[in-house]
C-alpha cells in the first residue's frame, strides 16, 4: 500500500475511534445511571426527604444546590470578567507580571478541590465566622472555579481581532465602551462556554462542599443555613445509607438532567443574543 494512503487512512481511523470512544463512555455512563434509577415520578423532585434520603424526594437538596451555585456564579462572574479584561490588557503588553499571574492561575486551576474545601472551611467558616452555610459553600466554590474561568475568559477576549482595539482608539471610544460594545459581544460564545464549564464544575462538586456548606437536609431558609448539595447527597446515599442505592441513582439522574438543561438553555440563549448583537 502507498505509504501516504496508509498514513492518512490510519490517522482517519484513529480520529474516528477516539470520537467513538468518548461518545461510548458518555453513553455508558448515562445508561448506567438511568438503568439503575429506573423511571421515577416527578414527585421525587418536589417532595421532602424521608428516612435519611432512602425514601421521599430531594426538594431541599435541589434548593440548597441551586442556592450554592447561584451564590457561586453571582460572586465569580463579575470578578472573572474583570480579571480577564485586566489580564487581557497585560497580555497585549506581555509583561513579566502577566506571565507570573498566568502561571499562578494555572497552578490554582489544577489544585484539588479538597484543598479549596479545607481553605474555605478555615477562612469562610471559622475565620469569617460564617459557619457551615450555603454562603461559605458558594464562596468556596467561587474561589475554586475562578482561576479556570478567568483563564478561559481571557482566551476568549484574546481571540478577538487586535484591530478592534486600534479602531476603537481611532474613534475615541472609552475603554468601558470598547469592552461592553465591542469585545464582550464578540467574545460572548467563548465567555459563555467558560462560565458554563465553571457552573458545571460547581454543580458537581463534592469535596469542597463537605466542610463548608455541610450535610443538613432541612429546607434552607436563608443563605446562612447549612444545606446539602446533590453530589454530597449522592455520596452519602451510596456510601453511608443501607438501601440508599436506588435514590442515589435517581439523584444522579436529576443532577445529570440539571447539567444537561443548564448547558443547552444557556448555550442557546447566549448564541441567540450573540447573533443579534453582531447583526446590529
Amino acid at each position: 500500500m502507498d505509504r501516504y494512503v496508509f498514513r492518512e487512512g490510519s490517522f482517519t481511523v484513529i480520529t474516528w475511534l477516539s470520537g467513538i470512544a468518548v461518545f461510548a463512555i458518555f453513553a455508558l455512563l448515562v445508561f448506567d445511571v438511568f438503568y439503575h434509577s429506573g423511571l421515577f415520578s416527578l414527585e421525587f423532585l418536589f417532595s421532602d426527604v424521608k428516612g435519611a434520603g432512602r425514601e421521599g424526594g430531594i426538594l431541599p437538596v435541589i434548593i440548597s444546590t441551586s442556592l450554592i451555585v447561584l451564590t457561586c456564579s453571582v460572586v465569580s462572574l463579575p470578578i472573572a470578567l474583570g480579571s480577564a479584561y485586566f489580564l487581557f490588557y497585560f497580555s497585549r503588553q506581555n509583561t513579566r507580571i502577566s506571565a507570573l499571574l498566568r502561571v499562578s492561575l494555572d497552578v490554582l486551576a489544577s489544585t484539588p478541590s479538597i484543598v479549596f474545601g479545607l481553605f474555605g472551611s478555615a477562612f469562610f467558616c471559622l475565620y469569617l465566622d460564617l459557619g457551615f452555610s450555603i454562603l461559605s459553600g458558594g464562596l468556596t466554590l467561587a474561589c475554586m472555579i475562578l482561576p479556570a474561568v478567568i483563564r478561559m475568559c481571557e482566551e476568549g477576549l484574546s481571540a478577538t481581532p487586535e484591530e478592534y482595539g486600534l479602531q476603537a482608539a481611532a474613534l475615541g471610544m472609552s475603554k468601558t465602551a470598547l469592552f461592553f460594545h465591542v469585545l464582550l459581544p464578540a467574545a460572548l460564545p467563548t465567555l459563555s462556554a467558560a462560565v458554563l464549564l465553571g457552573i458545571g464544575r460547581a454543580l458537581s462538586e463534592t469535596a469542597a462542599l463537605l466542610f463548608t456548606s455541610g450535610y443538613v437536609l432541612r429546607m434552607p431558609e436563608s443563605l446562612m443555613d447549612s444545606g446539602r448539595s446533590l453530589s454530597i447527597h449522592i455520596y452519602d446515599l451510596a456510601m453511608n445509607i443501607p438501601g440508599g442505592d436506588q435514590n442515589a441513582y435517581r439523584t444522579a439522574a436529576v443532577l445529570l438532567g440539571m447539567l444537561f438543561v443548564i448547558n443547552s438553555v444557556a448555550l442557546a440563549s447566549m448564541n441567540f443574543c450573540a447573533g443579534r448583537v453582531i447583526r446590529k
Binding site: G51, V74, F180, R218, S222, M224, P242, C273, K280
Partner: protein, 273 residues
C-alpha cells in the same frame, strides 16, 4: 435583545430567586458533628424532634468519630458523635451517652459454604497465615481479604479484639464506607470482610447475596448484639460537656428515650432499651 437587556434580566432574575433573609422564629440552635455512621440516624431523630419542638433547629454535620470527639471537647459543636468508645485520654471534661449499639460481624458472599469463624481463624486470616478457603474446609479458592481503612472504628475494634497491631494486618483490599465494602463482597464469591451487624442484616433481608458468619460459635445478629452475647460490639456514643445546657439536655433526653427506637431500628442499629 441587547446585551444590556440581557444583563438586566439576569440580575433581576437573580434578585427574585434569592430567598428572603428573614430571621427564623427558631431561637434554640444545636449543632452536632462527628461519625458518618451515626449522622443519618441522628438527622432523622433531629427531624422528628424539630417537628415536635417548633423552636428548635438542629444542624448535623459529619467528619468522622475523631472529629466529633475533638469538636465536642473544644466546644465547636454542642454534641459530638462517635461510633467507638472513647480512649481514656479523650474522656477528660466530657460526658458520654450511649445512643445505640452495633456489632461487627465477619461477612462473606452467600455462595461461600463456610458458616462460622473463630477468633483464632480470623487472626490467621488477617495476618496472612490462611489465604485459601480450603484451609477452613471450604472450596479450593484464594481468599480476597478485605480490610477496613485505618482510623475507622471498625478497624480499631477488630484489631484490638483479635490482639493484632494495625501494621500487621495483611489484606488484598482496603475499603472505607460500609456500602463500599458490601459492594465488594457481593461482587466477589471468595471475599471476606467485617461490617456493621445491623447494616449487614438489613442487606440480607433485602436479598443482597451475603452471609454473616457465626463468630466464636455465636450467631451474628441484632438479637445477639442486643442481649450482649455477641463478642464484637461497639457503642454509638453522643458526647457532651459535663455541665449540660438546658436545650442540649432536652434533645439528649429525647434521643436516649424509647421514642426513637423505631428510627434506630430503621437505620439498622440496635437500641439499648
Amino acid at each position: 435583545m441587547s446585551i444590556k437587556t440581557f444583563l438586566f434580566t439576569f440580575v433581576v432574575t437573580l434578585c427574585c430567586l434569592l430567598p428572603s433573609q428573614e430571621a427564623n422564629a427558631a431561637d434554640k440552635r444545636l449543632s452536632l458533628s462527628g461519625s458518618s455512621t451515626i449522622a443519618p440516624l441522628i438527622s432523622e431523630i433531629a427531624r422528628r424532634f424539630e417537628a415536635e419542638h417548633k423552636d428548635f433547629r438542629i444542624d448535623v454535620q459529619t467528619g468522622g468519630s475523631s472529629r466529633g470527639i475533638a469538636d465536642a471537647r473544644r466546644g465547636l459543636s454542642d454534641i459530638g458523635m462517635s461510633s467507638r468508645a472513647l480512649h481514656d485520654e479523650e474522656k477528660a471534661g466530657v460526658k458520654t451517652h450511649i445512643l445505640a449499639m452495633d456489632g461487627i460481624a465477619f461477612v462473606v458472599h452467600a455462595k461461600n459454604p463456610i458458616k462460622n469463624l473463630s477468633a483464632a481463624q480470623a487472626r490467621q486470616i488477617y495476618t496472612g497465615q490462611i489465604s485459601n478457603w480450603k484451609q477452613l474446609g471450604g472450596e479450593d479458592a484464594e481468599m480476597t481479604i478485605i480490610d477496613r481503612a485505618k482510623g475507622r472504628s471498625e478497624q480499631e475494634l477488630m484489631t484490638k479484639f483479635l490482639g493484632i497491631k494495625s501494621p500487621e494486618v495483611k489484606a488484598n483490599l482496603t475499603c472505607g464506607e460500609n456500602q463500599q465494602c458490601l459492594k465488594l463482597v457481593t461482587g466477589n464469591a471468595h471475599a471476606i470482610t467485617y461490617l456493621s451487624v445491623g447494616t449487614s442484616e438489613y442487606e440480607v433481608n433485602r436479598g443482597t447475596p451475603i452471609r454473616l458468619l457465626d463468630f466464636e460459635g455465636i450467631p451474628a445478629s441484632v438479637a445477639t448484639v442486643k442481649d450482649q452475647s455477641f463478642p464484637l460490639v461497639r457503642p454509638l456514643v453522643l458526647i457532651t460537656p459535663e455541665r449540660l445546657p438546658e436545650e442540649v439536655e432536652e434533645f439528649l433526653n429525647y434521643s436516649l428515650s424509647n421514642k426513637v427506637d423505631d428510627l434506630i431500628k430503621g437505620q439498622a442499629f440496635v437500641s439499648t432499651h
